[in-house]
């Protein structure tokens, strides 16, 4: 009976979402407070029913209810219970329900933390989110119902794809979806502002923390996916420019542009049209990603079992949501006006450049992702566009952005001084060049590596100096702790996120430029060396896991005769799905990862083995974590929390005068 209850819960949620999508927006249009007041309870009710449906699906997995075909297709009684829980979102239907859960969750959060917003704005924002929810709930119910039953109950399930039986995969989809769906809030705020005609600094201020949080989750989600690919796919790659990776990366790029553009709109009431467009684009690209993954138009390692009917549904949904909002944009945006003027060299113009480069980069990634699809669509053949294209267009477009990261913060709003920026950054530039040149010459690296090192030093030093200058202001008059406290958290957020980029660039440069890999056919006792490390294949034992059997090898790694570490790579065979899997063994270190993975065994008993030394790999992950931390700091700045702490409806035009310290952040 319970799965049917899940179905009913989804139908009820759809009903509530439909009302939420219509009445409050209509109420805001007519100025009817009673209809507008419906928005919050409806948002809560919708969330409640989706939580219920999701809970029922999870319990069906935990209790091995194989009468539900989705459970039978993605789980097995041998599967450990934590993977049975995560198997809930291991396939198309369940991951769609997870998406629902996130969407209604974000909607509920907006309902909770919007006490200080004018009622029409709340009604419109929640209404728009309700409309999106209608689309996804109907998609779930009409094309991808996770509660459908098997007529004949199979004795056991077909098991979860072994690639997904991993801790990283438990949390990667929820994080990623939090990011994707989080952009729906910025989108809803933008649409609400377009409908209401109030595109002002207040609107930017409300959208900002939500956008920053969504961006933070997306950063973490992409990081986890990449991290997983690195250790689970077994050959040490971590970014493949695969269509689905691109689908998550494009909203990230536009989202990055959006958080910068929002700051201009908030501080200077400028870039308004542009910010609205970016908010629409960020969410549109999230939706496009959904289409690409689930419609089967692109072949990808991530592709869900595809079904053209689903593809058609999402395409129509895309047309309504994206097409509708772009038409609304074309209709309302011309009346918005340009906002504050600024000089050719100013903080605004720097941020404008940042936006242009990020958007052009998104465009090239989009082009590369859709080019095979377009060629196929026009009958010109099937091809793959791979890393050679993406790397050759992506890197040159990112270089100016990386240079600008350290320049922008040193330029004043409205009108900056090129001379002053140069005076302040001269030292950083010289030290960075000297540092990069010294390392490049002593380690005999390529020009590419030297450039990467230069940029990383430039970004990190520039950001740290910026913070130091900020803390030095007023030295002597006020104690350090007081000066530290006076710096807004958003400022720390910016510095931290920028340092994160620097750390990331450093990691990518070194791991791409200086890694060593060796493929060898090895028998027990053989030794192979790479990057100054010797890897000895000691022994091979049999090993049995809950739903797989494995051969576990022992490798002794030494350097210059000194023992470094013992690694245990495995070759697993998952008995239900009958697939072999490689479990790489990795020794992570501050300056290098040692990576051993097992390939195939040859008839004479030798094993294909791949050993790798990947310098500074951990810095790539650390950089992403630091970036996300920066996002979190900025999102929890005092000025966003204040209004959440004041449940009293504020005066509509009340905005606190900016203190100079805030104006700079």
């Amino acid at each position: 009976m319970t799965p049917e209850l899940g179905n009913v819960a989804l139908i009820l949620a759809l009903g509530l979402a439909s009302i939420l999508g219509v009445l409050p927006i209509w109420g805001a249009h007519k100025g009817d407070a009673r209809w507008m007041a419906l928005a919050r309870p409806l948002a809560a009710g919708q969330f409640l029913f989706v939580v219920l449906a999701f809970g029922i699906l999870v319990s069906a997995f935990v209790n091995n209810d194989f009468s539900v075909s989705y459970v039978a297709g993605n789980s097995n009684s041998l599967l450990p219970v934590y993977y049975r829980v995560s198997a809930t979102w291991g396939g198309h239907e369940g991951s769609l329900l997870l998406w629902q859960l996130m969407l209604t969750g974000w909607t509920f959060a907006v309902a909770l933390f919007s006490r200080s917003l004018p009622q029409p704005t709340v009604a419109r924002v929640l209404g728009v989110l309700g409309l999106i929810s209608v689309g996804f709930l109907s998609f779930t119910l009409f094309t991808s119902n996770p509660f459908e039953r098997n007529l004949v109950v199979p004795p056991d399930g077909r098991d979860l794809n072994p690639l997904l039986q991993d801790f990283g995969m438990i949390i990667h989809p929820p994080m990623l979806y939090m990011g994707y769906v989080g952009f729906s809030v910025a989108f809803a705020f933008a649409i609400a502002a377009l409908i209401g005609g109030h595109l002002d600094a207040a609107w930017a201020k409300w959208s900002r923390p939500w956008t920053l949080l969504a961006w933070m989750f997306l950063t973490l989600g992409i990081l986890l996916g990449s991290f997983w690919a690195y250790y689970e796919l077994g050959w040490g790659g971590w970014w493949f420019w695969d269509a689905v990776e691109n689908a998550s990366f494009m909203p990230w790029l536009v989202g990055t542009a959006l958080i910068h553009s929002l700051s201009v709109t908030e501080k200077r009431a400028s870039f308004k049209n542009w910010t609205v467009l970016l908010a629409i684009l960020a969410f549109s690209l999230s939706l496009l990603g959904t289409f690409l993954v689930r419609s089967g138009v692109l072949t990808s390692v991530h592709a869900f079992a595809s079904d053209p009917k689903r593809g058609l549904f999402i395409l129509v949904f895309l047309l309504i949501v994206i097409g509708g909002s772009l038409v609304l944009y074309a209709w309302r945006a011309p009346k918005v006006g340009l906002g504050g003027r600024f000089a050719l060299f100013s903080r605004e113009s720097m941020l404008m450049l940042n936006n242009v480069f990020l958007l052009v980069t998104t465009g090239t990634v989009l082009l590369g992702t859709l080019y095979p699809l377009a060629l196929d669509a026009f009958g010109l053949g099937k091809i793959s566009v791979g890393p050679p294209y993406f790397e050759s267009v992506f890197v040159p477009l990112m270089l100016p952005v990386l240079v600008l990261i350290s320049v922008g913060p040193y330029v004043a709003w409205k009108e900056g001084s090129l001379q002053r920026a140069w005076l302040e950054l001269r030292g950083v530039a010289l030290v960075s060049i000297a540092l990069a040149a010294a390392i490049a010459v002593s380690a005999k690296t390529s020009v590419g590596v030297a450039t990467g090192l230069l940029l990383a030093a430039w970004i990190i030093l520039g950001s740290v100096q910026h913070l130091a200058q900020r803390l030095k202001a007023g030295a002597g008059r006020t104690p350090f702790v007081q000066r530290w406290r006076a710096v807004p958290r958003a400022f720390f957020g910016m510095v931290v996120a920028h340092v994160g980029i620097g750390v990331f660039v450093l990691g990518v440069t070194l791991v791409k430029g200086l890694d060593h890999a060796q493929d060898a056919s090895m028998k027990e006792g053989d030794t192979v060396s790479a990057g100054g490390y010797a890897f000895q294949f000691k022994s091979l034992e049999k090993h049995k896991g809950p739903n797989y059997i494995a051969g576990r090898a022992t490798f002794e790694v030494s350097r210059g005769g000194q023992h470094v570490v013992t690694l245990y790579p495995e070759k697993r065979f998952y008995v239900v799905q009958r697939v072999p899997m490689t479990e790489a063994a990795i020794d992570r270190g501050l300056t290098r990862d040692l990576y051993v993975s097992m390939g195939e065994a040859t008839p004479d008993g030798a094993w294909g083995v791949r050993v790798q030394v990947k310098p500074f790999m951990g810095w790539v992950w650390t950089g992403c974590l630091v970036m996300a931390l920066g996002g979190l700091l900025a999102a929890t700045d005092r000025r966003y929390r204040q209004r959440a702490a004041q449940p009293v409806p504020s005066k509509p035009h009340h905005t606190a005068p900016l203190r100079p310290s805030q104006a700079l952040s």
């Binding site: 050959w235 790659g237 493949f240 420019w241 695969d242 269509a243 049209n273 467009l277 629409i280 684009l281 549109s284 289409f291 419609s295 089967g296 138009v297 072949t299 990808s300 390692v301 595809s306 053209p308 593809g311 058609l312 395409l315 895309l318 047309l319 994206i322 097409g323 772009l326 038409v327 944009y329 074309a330 209709w331 945006a333 011309p334 859709l370 095979p372 699809l373 377009a374 060629l375 196929d376 669509a377 026009f378 009958g379 010109l380 053949g381 099937k382 091809i383 793959s384 566009v385 791979g386 890393p387 050679p388 890999a517 493929d519 390939g599 195939e600 294909g608 791949r610």
Partner: protein
Amino acid sequence: MKRYLLPFGLFLALASTLALGLKRVDASDPQEIPSPLIGKATPAFTLGQLDDPQKQFSPQNLRGQVWLLNVWASWCTSCRQEHALLVDFSKQGVLPIVGFNYQDEREAGRKWLNDRGNPYQLTAFDADGRVGMDLGVIGVPETFVIDKQGRVRYKVTGPITPEILKDKLLPLIKELKRA
């Protein structure tokens, strides 16, 4: 207002492409693209081999035989579709299949063949894609049928399907072998 409609216009173009793409999901079949090389001599080149950069390969080496040149790369997702078919086909020993590893990294290429089986008599390694350009490679995978005189007789763009193999390639190979 006109320039504000630009994003919408771009989106419509994108959406039509997606719609066309969707229409083809069902009826998907790799296309034949007319290649200017058909009927002409295979461009001369010499490349190191994937396994051993010291060993050279040139199309001259296979003069007098009918053979397939299959362009692939480890980063190419559609290559995975045809790879199993190629491995099976190579076991029948109908004709030599030469791999052409295009714009790839040597290790990644080797790993790919290690993991998925190697249908190739040998694989020429074209790291920077220059020879690929001479061959007019527009995408990966591509497969050339080359006759005894070293002329390109046919080209498949996209993965080889069982139908293409049965209906197009095998009859042609049979005919060329008899000539």
